[in-house]
């Protein structure tokens, strides 16, 4: 009885608090940069596709809603031939972003993705790829990887010595 009265009293007091409800969509929601919403594929500083098609995000996804196929261009640079996210399954856990070794896949502060048809929640690479580095500017995976893929030659990476002369026996 006492508890019931207390509850009614508390609810009554809330009428005089500041309102949490906002007049969406007229009023916009303030979202923080690390808010986990819409997933995008970003580009590296040279505006090349960051995703290297490593399948780690797909493996990390607890609902298995990412599917892709890796392919290579003529320089040996790997990128996804297709990249599909089924947002009707996605739980926005952010595991894909955490798994991504190239900062390609990122969750951004945007939740306005509602559709009338569930089918329209299936996003392809065209829908995901943006012309921006997203939250992590400056990183270019192919500059630090050992692979030569048209971005840099062997031994020209940030942390590399020039290629070994295999005909030399000098120390």
């Amino acid at each position: 009885m006492i508890s019931n009265l207390r509850t009614i009293g508390l609810t009554f007091l809330h009428m005089f608090r500041k309102r949490e409800t906002i007049q969406y969509p007229e009023e916009k929601v303030v979202l923080h940069p690390r808010w986990r919403g819409r997933i995008v594929l970003t580009r590296d500083p040279d505006m090349g596709e960051r995703c290297v098609g490593c399948y780690l995000c797909a493996a990390a996804c607890p609902v298995d809603c990412i599917s892709l196929q890796a392919t290579e261009d003529e320089n040996g640079r790997r990128y996804p031939e297709f990249f599909r996210i089924n947002f009707s399954r996605c739980i926005f856990c952010g595991y894909c972003e955490e798994a991504c070794p190239t900062y390609a896949i990122q969750l951004i502060p945007d939740f306005e993705m509602a559709e009338y048809q569930r089918q329209d929640l299936v996003y392809e690479k065209e829908d995901l790829l943006i012309d921006s580095e997203g939250k992590y500017p400056g990183y270019n995976y192919y500059k630090v990887a050992g692979l030569a893929s048209g971005v840099k030659g062997k031994g020209e990476g940030t942390n590399e010595e020039p290629p070994v002369d295999i005909h030399s026996l000098l120390p």
């Binding site: 797909a58 809603c65 569930r118 630090v144």
Partner: protein, 902 residues
């Protein structure tokens, strides 16, 4: 048994092994790189350190490499000791100082031994501040990709390629911390086993280039245990699929058959499954394809089947199930083997010997242990590649035994090679031309097929005078025969290898005689037959008449319609003969998976599944029945197993309506009931209703990704996963997670062991049989069922006849096999048509290398560039066997060679 103490706990172990394999057998997770169960230890990587104590009292101990330490009774060691652990983790840290930041783009990732070992030792953070060493890569041909930066200098690649497989063109270059593993120059890796580098190399330096074309991680593939379809040895393979495409073949360990390795034809020859040349839809000639549905097809077939006299033509590359359902459909009396009479006769001779129970047909594993080998009339590297690899190990057996006497254990590879130097065991080869194995042979002779047989008969006669002796042999050959006979007699495990490649029955008989002659009470000689195709043996065991008899029946009008099962008849005889066969047919019904010359003649063409889309049982050259399982459910519902189509026709013929057709029950049970020679084949794999704790065995690893997205572009509501009523495997990732029965292992994985090295966890002991025994059942008796009777029919010595050449078929690993040629890389490595002639004949005809020659075989004419082979006997010519452009020759062939006038 020895007792050793690991971290103060006592274990009973086998003496003679090294500590590393012992620890792994006991289930310890001890990291290693350079040691390989099939190649032994060299102690190069320093990764497998453990602490060894002098005795119980010793508390200091010393760090040793466990792979270089033999098990001794009462040994005390520690795996968990903290200095040993720190040592192991530092070794990885050093290796990693130069390792590129590549995992994301490295094809090894997810099945990388280096990743696994790094995680195992706990090295997680890079402390090294300096720059990384880099290398330039090489182009190594269509099969293998090279990314040298990832090398950890374990030396496994060169040890496999050079020491184990006899390759010449891969080596280690440069010095100290700059060593480089590659070729002297960019270029094709020549060895026939190069694909194994992808599995042997613990890192991503050597990877499968065909996989790279449609790259998929190991965890994303739907995999099934399968059997290689590209030669008669029946190597066990794992086939993996993604997005409806077959993506990779890897070797599946079978201790009795292929062990850890497979050949490049088997590994890379899978592209036929993805070929654009696949038959996709049932076709009725004269009707537009889209109009043919199941109902109209069945009605049409029913009309044909009930109004004509039908015979069935089987196939040595179709499974027992498919051949059997065909036999059931047309009746035993109307069932023909789809092979020429010559080949059928060869197979009958082989069966006769195998059924006698007087010989032992060795498994591949046993051939590795032979101490004296005689090869009669086979180029093994090209006709049965893995047998050639096994012989390369066999010739080392004697030195290994000798080394054992001075206490060098058999796993101590470095010491063994040092000890053996160039010494090699006893291997004798007789073949018309040089073969790759000649280099390891004690002696090889180049003779005509008949002379090879005569040599064999002479050897048998030396071994047992009851065996018939050839007349008129020259002294040199007799001396040679006597030398071989003596060696075979002395040997503890003699092995004779022969086969059908030269289409010469006398060779088979001679080899059988040698084996019979060697047969004593306590020692059975091993006789190994190489047969043409993956199920040649199984088909022969069905004992049906040959293709030639089918033609006779058609000519006589006793039949007018044929059903051809997975068989391109134009590869089985001359074009004229096969045309003749078709001209006598009212209706031709063909079931096959690829369009070919035979499907072109079909009135009704029915698409069927390849080994990747079908289940089946095949019998290898040893007489071992083995099962392959469907890898994936094709999107195209028309691609069904031949046996399913054929069984439905049978039901339909008997009046069942299309809606009520049922899948056949256990076909193998039915087959064994009717043909007792197959007894045992029905028990090769657990039945379809087999469950472990009520669960099926999943074809997909538990990390399989993308299930709710891969088909979402078609429909966002996921379809129900396909079901597999035919086997105990499921097409999903759900099911029993432990180690399944050995015939059902779809992939190797164990916690912490993502790479192929996880095989360790599936074996009873390292390198030993799989848990529960290696899969496959031998179907032939080993106890004598007949009297020891020597075979006769010794051919006369070969004499070159003026103006006419005996043409021998020369098999090529890349090119001679019908299905593997659909892989572009294999087609690239296939030889261009040529004719091999002897030096003497070339001089007589005034021919120099590459001159175009006119070759006339019966009424077929070919213009072929000449290849002069010094060793080829005069009067003999060779033509590459069944390569594109040169199929459709009725073997054995005679021909006329002239210099082409240009």
């Amino acid at each position: 048994m020895a007792v050793i103490y690991i971290d103060d706990k006592a274990y009973e172990v086998k003496p003679g092994k090294n500590l590393l394999e012992t620890c792994l057998t006991l289930g310890f997770n001890l990291p290693y790189f350079c040691w390989h169960p099939a190649m032994g230890s060299v102690g190069a990587c320093r990764q497998c350190a453990v602490k060894l104590f002098k005795d119980e009292q010793d508390t200091n101990g010393r760090i040793v490499m466990s792979c270089m330490e033999a098990v001794k009774d009462n040994m005390h060691l520690s795996v968990d000791d903290h200095t040993a652990k720190a040592f192991r983790s530092q070794v990885i840290e050093w290796l990693m100082t130069n390792h590129p930041h590549d995992c994301a783009v490295c094809d090894e990732g997810g099945s990388c031994h280096l990743q696994d070992m790094t995680v195992m030792t706990g090295h997680t953070y890079r402390r090294f501040q300096y720059k990384k060493r880099t290398y330039k890569n090489q182009y190594l041909g269509p099969f293998i990709n090279h990314e040298m930066n990832r090398c950890i200098q374990c030396y496994r690649c060169v040890r496999f390629y050079k020491d184990y497989a006899g390759g010449k063109d891969l080596d280690v270059f440069a010095a100290h911390n700059h060593v480089y593993f590659g070729r002297a120059q960019d270029g094709m890796l020549e060895n026939e086993f190069s694909g194994n580098l992808a599995e042997v190399c613990p890192t991503g330096v050597f990877t499968d280039k065909t996989l790279k074309e449609h790259y998929t991680r190991k965890w994303d593939m739907t995999m099934a245990p399968s059997i290689c379809q590209h030669c008669s040895l029946g190597c066990n393979i794992i086939a993996g699929e993604r997005y409806g495409e077959l993506r990779q073949i890897t070797s599946r360990f079978n201790g009795e058959v292929n062990g850890y390795f497979i050949c490049d034809r088997g590994r890379f020859g899978y592209e036929l499954v993805n070929s654009i040349n696949r038959v996709q839809q049932p076709l009725i000639r004269g009707k537009i394809p889209d109009a043919v549905d199941k109902q109209s097809l069945y009605n049409h077939l029913n009309e044909i089947l009930s109004n004509t006299k039908v015979i069935g033509i089987a196939s040595p590359r179709a499974s027992l199930e498919s051949n059997f359902t065909l036999m059931q459909l047309v009746g035993k009396e109307n069932f023909y083997q789809g092979i020429s009479e010559t080949e059928a006769q060869l197979m009958r001779t082989i069966l006769h010997t195998m059924n006698s129970g007087q010989i032992h047909t060795p498994s591949l594993k046993e051939t590795e242990k032979a101490d004296a080998v005689l090869v009669l009339g086979e180029d093994l590297t090209n006709a049965a590649p893995l047998l050639a690899l096994a012989l390369r190990q066999a010739v080392r057996k004697k030195t290994i035994e000798n080394a054992g006497q001075i206490n060098i254990p058999s796993w101590h590879d470095a010491a063994l090679r040092e000890f053996a130097q160039q010494e090699k065991g006893e291997l004798f080869i007789a073949y018309p031309t040089q073969t790759k194995l000649d280099e390891i042979a004690s002696d090889s002779r180049h003779k005509s097929p008949d002379d090879i047989a005569r040599l064999g008969f002479a050897i048998a006669n030396y071994l047992n005078i009851m065996a018939p002796a050839p007349e008129g042999m020259d002294d040199d050959t007799l001396k040679y025969a006597r030398q071989i006979a003596d060696i075979l007699k002395e040997a503890e495990r003699p092995l004779i290898i022969c086969g059908t490649s030269l289409y010469n029955e006398a060779i088979l008989k001679a080899a059988s005689n040698i084996a019979f002659a060697l047969d004593t009470k306590d020692k059975k000689a091993s006789l190994c037959f190489v047969v043409p195709e993956c199920n040649s043996m199984g088909l022969a065991m069905m004992q049906a008449p040959s293709l030639n008899q089918a033609v006779e029946v058609l000519e006589k009008g006793e039949a007018d319609t044929v059903i051809i099962l997975e068989n391109d008849l134009y590869r089985r005889g001359s074009k004229k003969d096969i045309d003749n066969l078709f001209n006598h047919c009212k209706q031709v019904i063909v079931l096959d998976h690829l369009h070919n010359d035979t499907t072109n003649r079909a009135n009704v063409l029915i698409p069927v599944g390849t080994f990747a889309e079908a289940d089946g049982t095949i019998v290898n050259n040893e007489g071992r029945a083995q099962c392959f399982f469907q890898v994936f459910m094709p999107k195209n519902e028309n691609l069904r197993e031949s046996w399913r189509w054929l069984d439905e026709f049978r039901q339909f013929k008997n009046g069942t309506s299309p809606e009520d057709l049922t899948t056949p029950g256990d076909l193998m049970d039915e087959m064994v009931g009717l043909m007792s020679q197959f007894k045992g084949a029905e028990t090769v794999a657990p039945p379809a209703d087999f469950r472990i704790y009520g669960q099926k065995v999943p074809r997909e690893p538990h990390r399989y990704s993308g299930r709710t997205a891969m088909l979402a572009n078609i429909n966002v509501s996921e379809p129900k996963p396909p079901e597999d009523p035919d086997s105990a495997l499921s097409f999903t990732m759900e099911g029993y997670k432990g180690i399944p029965p050995s015939p059902l292992i779809p992939f190797y994985w164990s916690p912490g062991w993502n790479s192929v090295q996880s095989i360790n966890k599936y074996q009873t002991e390292i390198g030993g049989p799989l848990l529960g025994g290696d899969p496959g059942k031998r179907l032939f008796p080993e106890t004598p069922v007949a009297e020891n009777a020597f075979l006769n029919n010794i051919p006369p010595a070969f004499k070159p006849s003026p103006g006419e050449w005996l043409i021998v078929p020369l098999p090529h690993i890349f090119g001679s096999e019908e299905l593997s040629i659909y892989t572009p890389g294999i087609a690239e490595r296939s030889p261009k048509p040529y004719v091999a002639i002897s030096k003497h004949d070339a001089e007589n005809l005034n021919i120099s290398e590459s001159d175009i020659m006119q070759v006339q075989i019966r009424d077929q004419n070919y213009a072929l560039p000449a290849r002069i082979k010094e060793e080829l006997p005069q009067g003999l010519a060779g033509i590459p066997f069944n390569i594109p452009g040169l199929s459709g020759i009725a073997w054995p062939a005679k021909g006329i060679l002239t210099k082409a006038v240009i």
